[in-house]
């Protein structure tokens, strides 16, 4: 009888569980910390990670606990908690002393324990030491130094992930899609690093809440703004200047952040004696704003916006401007301590306008892609072993394909294209025991194509056979794709783990571009009756090992990716004009595989990393290269990045980075002929040649200037391409100007020995 009572009471006791929950914030700024860990001191296998809003919830049996808080560049804390009822516990995290901070870009989460593979979180504050082109700190260029990520070209902010094309990267700013994340033809990204809080890159292995692109997700989150005190920060560089203001709306309840940036290269252009240059307009600007307000203990509102514009022009004759605008309204609501809800209403827009005014002829071209997106997501912190995430996203896309209007000209244009992209998902982060971490889930993608725009039927040769008539509200086609997502890690011992992942991704918006550089007029085209959603299956395996108390992190990851419904152009296709695009396209398959090695040193005076990728990327499309597999343009066999940062003393930090990669696979001529009295080159196969390999060393130095009470400042110097390697930006073929009987290959290199200096301050 006594035993029975004992057992019974112990069952009751074990059933008696309480939840400790709250938000983890930075002590000085009040910024919520994303991805911070909290573990039980006595049993470090029990723990939780904060979500995108810094929220955590941990349900444990009644008792006294000590929780250990850990986050990169914050002091570790032990927090005692007595759980005899549901407890709200906000944790104030203290940043490490600035002078002691010696970490560069590092994963904020221990890479051994985390289930996710192919994921990197960049620490935005800490990448400041790295040398950069024109002194512009650019997250998209830092990302290119990671294993499995390749630069799209010299100075270009675009990147390829595991052989994927540029348009296969989902780039999100506070959940809003950024369709063209570049300024000035790709040399700068739209992200002003001063306004950013967190940048996470998933290399094709994103969890189920992300969808819509094949190769990667770059999830960028803006700072919320300091809710304790006002701050102004800014920077003056060779190319641009920036200024940010943040502060509380109501102390500890709400805050704002406004950050702006503008280039002034056009001012210098005006000084040039060359009329071609001094009549040019050439600038871009960015504006980031964010407001947040805590309505109640359970409700918080966030409003964030981005607006950016580029202007290029020549006198009154020619002008082009383009830009993105995004807006996100979010409502965090705590349904219960274990159930966190976020509802988002998101607007996203990209458009370009071209004005031509030439001898009695004036025309305007306008093209736009516009999204309205409603998202709902629930995080259910079920128990320390399971965190369940359920949600949906519903995006209504409107694409204006490019209308031409003007005085005296026939208006040319096609009706707007409307599509509806829905995703429903469920995932669970499961820790069955101390060795396993498993994230699994599924996303169901439903892409609905509406009528109203022109749909075609093609014949066997790909020519238009018929134009199909659909009403505006008619559903032309639904594409339904289940996308499983699975990622697991198995801890071998304290310092090493094995990971495996399998994901399927689909993509229903495609960028049609036939240009070597990022071009503002590249077209986004939606899936329709002819263009199918692209599908990619990615499998990856990895081994992770840390040494010396996580001072050194080593990893090896291998991947294989197979893609269907890949799109390429027929030879000689003109994708710039307004004719139907479908007859100019060909569809096929792709495969990519590779090995990624990475070694990081994360602590000490000397930090940095080496990343090396060995890979192959191929495409097979009927109608190109005799239907054989051929190298994709971005097929780069070797890709090496070395980054080193050395903190000399409290004032000086030195840095350098070195990049080497195999040249792009390109089409060069295999002969020449004469037509209409000029030499024309003869092409026989696509991507049959290689650009010369690329290599570059950048160096930088940063000096902390006098540190007054509230005012800190620093000055940075850097040299991009310090040994002046002539990396070809483009290779062209021409008649030899000195000997008309010969032809020659001419390479153009852009950036050599580019020095820059920038001054940054904060008070």
């Amino acid at each position: 009888m006594f035993t029975l009572v004992f057992i019974f009471s112990s069952i009751i006791a074990s059933a008696q569980k309480f939840t400790v929950s709250g938000t983890i914030k930075d002590k000085k700024s009040g910024e919520a910390l994303i991805g911070a860990t909290l573990v039980v001191v006595n049993d470090p296998t029990i723990g939780v990670v904060t979500n995108e809003y810094g929220y955590y919830s941990l349900t444990l049996p009644k008792g006294d606990y000590k929780l250990l808080f850990r986050y990169v560049s914050y002091n570790t804390q032990e927090i005692p908690v007595t759980l005899d009822k549901n407890t709200k516990l906000d944790i104030i995290a203290e940043p490490e002393d600035r002078q002691l901070k010696e970490v560069v870009v590092s994963s904020k989460v221990s890479n051994v324990r985390n289930a996710q593979m192919g994921m990197t979180k960049l620490n935005v504050q800490e990448m400041k030491a790295l040398p950069v082109l024109f002194g512009e700190r650019d997250v998209m260029k830092i990302v290119q130094l990671l294993p499995g990520v390749e630069s799209a070209g010299d100075g270009n902010s675009g990147f390829y992930v595991r052989g994927g094309a540029i348009d296969q990267n989902l780039i999100l700013l506070d959940e809003a899609i950024v369709y063209n994340p570049s300024h000035l033809l790709g040399f700068f990204s739209t992200f002003n690093s001063d306004a950013l809080k967190d940048v996470t890159l998933y290399k094709g292995t994103a969890p189920a809440q992300f969808g819509g692109r094949l190769s990667s997700v770059m999830d960028v989150k803006m700072n919320d703004g300091n809710d304790k005190e006002y701050h102004v920060s800014g920077g003056i560089g060779l190319i641009s200047s920036k200024l940010a203001v943040e502060g509380p709306i109501v102390k500890d309840k709400g805050s704002f952040l406004i950050s702006g940036r503008r280039t002034y290269a056009d001012i210098f252009l005006g000084l040039s004696p060359d009329t071609n240059i001094n009549r040019s307009r050439l600038y871009f600007y960015d504006l980031n704003t964010k407001f947040n307000y805590k309505l109640t203990d359970k409700d918080r509102l966030f409003l964030s916006g981005y607006f950016g514009k580029d202007q290029l022009g020549l006198g009154s004759v020619f002008g082009i401007n383009w830009g993105n605008a995004t807006g996100t309204l979010r409502w965090n609501h705590l349904i219960s301590p274990k159930l966190f809800s976020n509802t988002s209403l998101i607007f996203s827009d990209y458009n370009y306008n071209i004005n031509v005014n030439n001898s009695g002829f004036s025309a305007k071209i306008h093209s736009e892609i516009r999204d309205w997106n409603l998202k709902e997501e629930l995080d259910y912190f079920s128990n320390p072993k399971n965190t369940i995430r359920v949600g949906f996203s519903s995006i209504y896309h409107t694409i204006t394909p490019g209308t031409i209007t003007g005085a005296n000209i026939t208006t040319v244009g096609k009706p707007d294209n409307h599509t509806w992209e829905n995703g429903i998902y469920i995932s669970n982060a499961w820790k069955p025991n101390s060795r396993w971490n498993i994230d699994y889930g599924i996303r169901l993608s439903i892409f609905t194509v509406f009528g109203g725009s022109e749909m075609y039927e093609l014949d066997a040769k790909g020519a238009i056979k018929d134009t199909l008539k659909y009403g505006k509200s008619d559903v032309v086609k639904n594409y339904i794709n289940p996308e499983p997502r699975f990622s697991a890690s198995y801890t071998l011992n304290e310092n090493s783990s094995l990971k495996a992942a399998y994901t399927r991704n689909t993509q229903s918006l495609h960028l049609i571009s036939n240009s070597t550089s990022s071009n503002p007029t590249d077209k986004w085209v939606a899936t329709n009756n002819i263009i199918k959603p692209e599908i990619a299956d990615l499998g990856s395996l990895g081994y992770f090992r840390n040494f010396k108390n996580n001072m050194y992190e080593l990893s090896v990851e291998g991947y294989y990716k197979y893609s269907q419904n890949q799109i390429d152009y027929k030879d000689g296709a003109n994708v710039l004009n307004n004719d139907a695009i479908e007859p100019k396209l060909l569809f096929g398959q792709g495969r990519a595989y590779g090995l990624e090695f990475s070694a990081h040193k994360t602590q000490g005076k000397f930090t940095g990393w080496i990343s090396y990728t060995l890979s192959k990327t191929e495409t097979q499309i009927n109608g190109i290269n005799n239907n054989q597999w051929y190298n994709a343009r971005q097929d780069r066999t070797h890709n090496l990045s070395v980054v080193a940062v050395y903190e000399v003393n409290k004032k000086w930090t030195l840095s350098s980075s070195f990049v080497y990669y195999t040249g792009d696979a390109v089409s060069f001529p295999s002969g020449k002929y004469n037509i209409n009295n000029q030499t024309v080159f003869y092409y026989t196969e696509r991507n049959g040649y290689r650009m010369p390999s690329y290599n570059r060393l950048d160096i930088g130095a940063t000096r902390q200037l006098a540190h007054r009470k509230h005012f800190t400042s620093e000055i940075s110097f850097s040299v991009y391409n310090a040994y002046g390697q002539q990396n070809p930006y483009i290779i062209t073929f021409q008649d030899d100007p000195n000997d008309a009987s010969k032809t020659q290959a001419l390479q153009t290199a852009l950036f050599r020995f580019v020095p820059s200096v920038s001054y940054n301050f904060k008070f």
Binding site: L185, F268, S272, N276, I277, S280, L282, V317, S359, G360, F361, A363, I404, N408, I409, T410, V412, N514, S515, T516, N519, D571, G572, N574, R633, S667, P669, S670, G671, K672, Y673, I675, N676, N677, Q678, T679, V680, F681, Y682, Y683, T684, N687, Y689, I730, I731, T732, F733, A740, S741, K742, T743, A745, L746, Q747, T748, A749, L750, R752, F753, V754
Partner: protein
């Protein structure tokens, strides 16, 4: 180097820092020689000429072998007349009696070294080049400007052959009536894509050709091939069946000349 955004990149780069060009050596494969046909039938007084040649490897000098002793015929399918062309200079085949008539359909037949190539092209109705004058463009260069009246019907395509001191230049000027149908067009010839520029004292002749849509597409893609800024450069879209490079164009011609001063 030739399209506007590349110019901007170079402009920016050359201002901020000198961009750097150099001649390099690249090992290019040499493909099997391919036949090249340059075929023109116009409404001008004959004889009309079809030129046959072959491709050479990139490393070779710019001497393109003529294809001799070929059988070349042009048939006016509308009138039912066939002309067998006679070879004059090596690779140049001339009509004997045929003159092009607007609206007529022409068929080309070439049999060279055992290979057969054919093509069909309809000569559009003529449009007159009303005037040619010299314009200093805002881009700072001297260019020819043309005036003509586009007919009321849609589907007119034009190619302007530019002769500087009686030599055909490498500029490819094309226009269509897609945007400005039926209007008086008074326009500077820009975006030719070539290296040739006009200077004071040059004698400029513009031959305006009315071409069909397939030939417009040919010249358009020839421009792209020459520009070399596409991610995937390719050969121009030829209207010749059988695998030859080049074109067969039946067109009308209206010319004007002016002295650059």
């Amino acid at each position: 180097m030739k399209r506007s955004h590349i110019i901007y990149i170079i402009a920016i780069a050359s201002f901020i820092l000198p961009s750097c060009q150099k001649v390099i050596h690249i090992d290019l494969n040499s493909a099997d020689p391919k036949y090249v046909i340059e075929g023109n039938i116009s409404n001008q007084a004959g004889p009309q000429t079809i030129k046959l040649s072959k491709t050479v490897s990139f490393e070779s000098s710019n001497v393109f072998p003529a294809v001799s002793s070929a059988l070349v015929t042009v048939t006016d399918a509308t009138a039912g007349i066939t002309d067998t062309l006679q070879e004059g200079a090596a690779g140049y085949y001339s009509t004997v009696s045929m003159t092009g008539v607007p609206g007529h359909m022409y068929q080309l037949y070439v049999k060279a070294e055992g290979k057969v190539f054919t093509s069909t092209c309809t000569m559009p109705m003529p449009v007159t080049l009303d005037s040619l004058y010299i314009s200093k463009s805002v881009f700072g260069n001297t260019r020819g400007a043309i005036v003509y009246t586009d007919p009321a019907a849609t589907g007119n395509y034009y190619y302007f052959a530019e002769y500087k001191n009686s030599v055909l230049t490498d500029n490819i000027y094309i226009r269509s009536d897609e945007l400005r149908n039926g209007q008086v067009i008074d326009q500077v010839l820009s975006r030719g894509g070539g290296e040739s520029e006009l200077n004071t004292g040059d004698y400029l002749t513009i031959a305006m050709e009315c071409i069909d849509s397939a030939m417009y597409q040919y010249y358009f893609t020839l421009q792209q091939t020459k520009n070399q800024n596409a991610a995937t450069p390719a050969n121009p879209q030829s209207n010749i069946v059988g695998g030859a490079l080049g074109y067969f164009s039946a067109h009308t011609v209206s010319s004007k000349s002016v002295l650059v001063n």
